[in-house]
């Protein structure tokens, strides 16, 4: 239990620093801004109580917010994403029991399951984040392009990380 807690805390700090120091400096034609830090929420263990899920998502969002001077923006998107997560998991449950202490991963759940899971959650997060940031309908389609391109880039990073850190055994 303690190991899982320490592992997740370490991941929390690493992802925030990675997002602030590296990803926030990436400039790709103004439409792509990847938010890879939400990988933390994707990787929380299956049996995490829902209140802890919501609280840690809130903490994650607010810590990124103080670095980017957008208090509340990332927090609200993260809380929404954490709230949706159990519904997504139960909607695609394969019938087999998840192992205690395991996190969702490409290796254990398979490509199809993980792709479905991560695409939905990343889109939920990015949609709420970008539209809340603009908060006007004038730039609707422009924002839509930003949401889709950024989600694509974030997902790319998520899959790269999955293959890097949890390689599938053949």
């Amino acid at each position: 239990m303690t190991i899982i807690f320490l592992k997740n805390t370490g991941r929390f700090i690493f992802l925030i620093l990675f997002q602030v120091l590296i990803l926030n400096n990436i400039q790709l034609n103004g439409y792509i801004s990847p938010y890879f830090y939400i990988y933390f929420i994707l990787l929380l263990p299956f049996e995490t109580p829902r209140w802890l899920l919501l609280l840690s998502a809130f903490l994650l969002g607010i810590s990124l917010d103080v670095f980017t001077n957008t208090i509340g923006l990332n927090a609200s998107a993260c809380v929404l994403m954490a709230f949706v997560r159990p519904f997504v998991i139960s909607s695609i449950s394969t019938g087999t029991e998840f192992m205690i202490g395991h996190s969702p991963s490409l290796k254990n759940q398979g490509l199809k399951w993980f792709a479905y899971y991560s695409v939905i959650l990343v889109l939920v997060h990015h949609f709420s984040l970008f539209y809340l940031e603009i908060f006007r309908f004038k730039e609707f389609f422009q924002t839509l392009i930003r949401v889709l391109l950024s989600s694509l880039f974030t997902l790319l990073l998520v899959f790269i990380a999955e293959y890097l850190f949890y390689p599938t055994k053949e």
Binding site: N25, Q27, I32, F58, V66, A75
Partner: protein, 278 residues
Amino acid sequence: MHYLFYFLRKRYIYFLFLVLETLSLILFFNYNDYQNSALTYVSNGITGSVLNVSSDVSEYFSLKRVNRILAEDNAKLHSNRSEAFYKADTDSFYHKDTLYKLEYRYISAKVINNSTNKRNNFIMLNKGHNQGIENHMGVIMGNRIVGQVVSISNHFCWVMSLLNKDSKISGKFKKNNQLVNIEWSGGNYQIGEVKEIPKHVVIHIGDTIITSGNSDIFPEGLLIGTIDHFTIAQEENFNYATIRFSTDFNSLSFVEVLIDLMRQEKENLKKSFKSSER
């Protein structure tokens, strides 16, 4: 009562979600009220020290560009020195002249965090309240505009860059002083919008737009950019153009904060005008 508790316990997760979501939305929409609150002071202190380290490293990559801008500025300052002028009358360069009074003072500051890829971009500088910086001061780089200070702590400040949906700059054509508004609509960080160009103004590609000096933030004559593209509207009263910013927001490293020494006087004047109106 019993059922209420039962209901609350059963659905507590929805309440927790609603509480957290409302809390973050309240924080987000009321953030302007929190600008100088204890929250900003503490969080700016922590984030500032982390970002400071990161900018110490990345600073080396922009040294070449910084040098060039410094050299340009030096050249300009040299040409303003009294030695550069032909002296018909030595007294004309008397420093404590009552005709010339110092209006602006500049504080050099280092950019320790910057973004150009969001819809609303902010810049963090390593100078704050202790160095005499206050809200709504203008920030420039050389003779190009960057943004305005929106939030300060003891040692750091946040600057709302021109690349922000709340940023509206009053500018004018350098050639004929026609007033226009400059905004940024997201996307490419080099291109902005010029709005409300009167129909009779003849626009050419490459026309220079400078600050008008109508706002309290920037003095007149700072460079904003040049016209990149324009459309002549058929049915509306104003033409529309896009502007290529002369500031390269993606490579800011050292900037200057403008301190308006006569700001108090200007504000008092405004206040007295308003109170006499009633």
